[in-house]
Amino acid sequence: MNDIMRKLLWLPDQASTFAPSVDHLHYFVITVTMLASVATGLLAFGFFFKYRERTPNASTPIVNPSVRFELGVIGVPLFFFLLWFVQGYRDYVWYTTPPGNTMDIYVMGKKWMWKFSYGGEGPNAIGTIHVPADRPVRLLMTSRDVIHSFYVPDFRIKQDVLPGRYTETWFEATKPGRYQILCAEYCGTWHSQMWGEIVVMPGPEFDAWLADQRRGLSDRVDTGGDDGASFHGSIVEYGKKIAMAQGCLKCHSVTGEPHIGPTWLDLYRRTETLETGEKVVADEAYLTDSMIDPRAKIVKGYKPVMPTFKGRLAAPEAAALVEFIKSLRSTSLENVPSKEAVYEPASK
């Protein structure tokens, strides 16, 4: 029954402890709504036939409601409405009151990405968080610029993320899997692309993963950190801006879905098979060459439709684009200690 209703209403997976409870109320409310509205429409339609004009300008009786009828008209809807309110508010209080033993993750919304940080020793991430199944997780959220809204349809949770203060939400995932995070509060040009992902792992697997991440962190610290290029954030931002301005994103997605051109997500250092059957690693050189002479090395399965950007991109712009592409990692985790956000526990 639950499944039939869920599919009928196009509801996503029920992947958190809230979801079934919310959905059951949903079924109740929407069924009553459907019945009431269709009944009203049909009743009116039926009256059109039953009481259609038989003699022109006929007198009609004066019909008035009795007090009992009036009370019924007020009472019956109010009964349903208040019933829904009580059930809905009970769930809502549950939903706004995290249990004491939550794992805390800090979330920061920023045009147009989600950043995550695990309390204590990290790690940090952009776009993707890993959480354990069957354990309560609390998200402490704030925004760097405008209002965003953290929305996970499969968990039935949503909470606005505000600049200058914290909001919190919590959930307990029940099914391992990957679930999309969407931004639900309009926040500008790429509001519709401000997506992220929650990876739910079975508890032990998650513990192992977290330990691994933190070990990787200390290894890095021991060996003196990353030897690679150290770029300023502005270059990536700049690269993103250029990608939008030049229309790159019309053909290349940043989300992993193939489009007119290959996706940029995880493109850097990926091994691609070309039309010629040759294999190539998408390094800086390949990426830059592809901007200047796109048709030279076409990835298998794509049409040679990309125009050349020779003369349309200055050298620093091309570099910034490459940096932007490099930043697009599906599991973008960084092995540095987390700067924990200052947080006073809620005084409830």
Binding site: Y106, V107, M108, K115, F116, S117, N124, A125, I126, T142, S143, R144, L162, P163, G164, R165, Y166, T167, E168, G216, G225, D226, G228, A229, S230, F231, H232, G233, I235, V236, Y268, R269, E323, K326, S327, R329, S332, L333, E334, N335, V336, P337, S338, K339, A341, V342, Y343, E344, P345, A346, S347, K348
Partner: protein
């Protein structure tokens, strides 16, 4: 015309001569006294009751002005209702919003925010790359 108009106008006419000059002066003196009182109590800085006291005195003064200077006391009922309702809704607005602040969590108040710029989750240390580093 409509019955209401007649009764209203009769009511209104009667009221007009009703105020003597003395009444206005008396109200004015009362207003000055209350001003003196509120300045005194405000200046003394009575702490927590300062604001409620100031608002109470202001409300008394405002009531005097509305009733006597603005003739609310003998204006038709409709006019009275209009003004009172507008004040009621103004109070609804303030109480509605204040109820929110009053019952919010501490941490959701801006005063609890750690910095005016909003806390930044550092993806890397200062001077280092905020770009997530790829590990191959």
């Amino acid at each position: 015309m409509a019955n209401e108009t007649k009764s209203e106008s009769a009511h209104g006419e009667k009221g007009h001569g009703g105020h003597g000059i003395g009444k206005y002066i008396a109200v004015w003196v009362a207003l000055l006294c209350f001003t003196g009182l509120t300045v005194y109590t405000g200046h003394e800085d009575l702490g927590a009751i300062n604001l409620p006291l100031a608002v109470t005195i202001a409300t008394i003064k405002a009531t005097l002005v509305v009733l006597f200077f603005m003739h609310m006391i003998d204006t038709p009922t409709a006019n009275r209702i209009v003004f009172v309702v507008s004040i009621v809704f103004a109070i609804v607005l303030i109480i509605g919003v204040f109820g929110d602040l009053w019952t919010r969590n501490e941490m959701t108040l801006p005063s609890a925010a750690p910095s005016t710029l909003g806390p930044e989750i550092q993806v890397s240390g200062p001077g280092e790359s905020p770009v997530p580093v790829h590990h191959e």
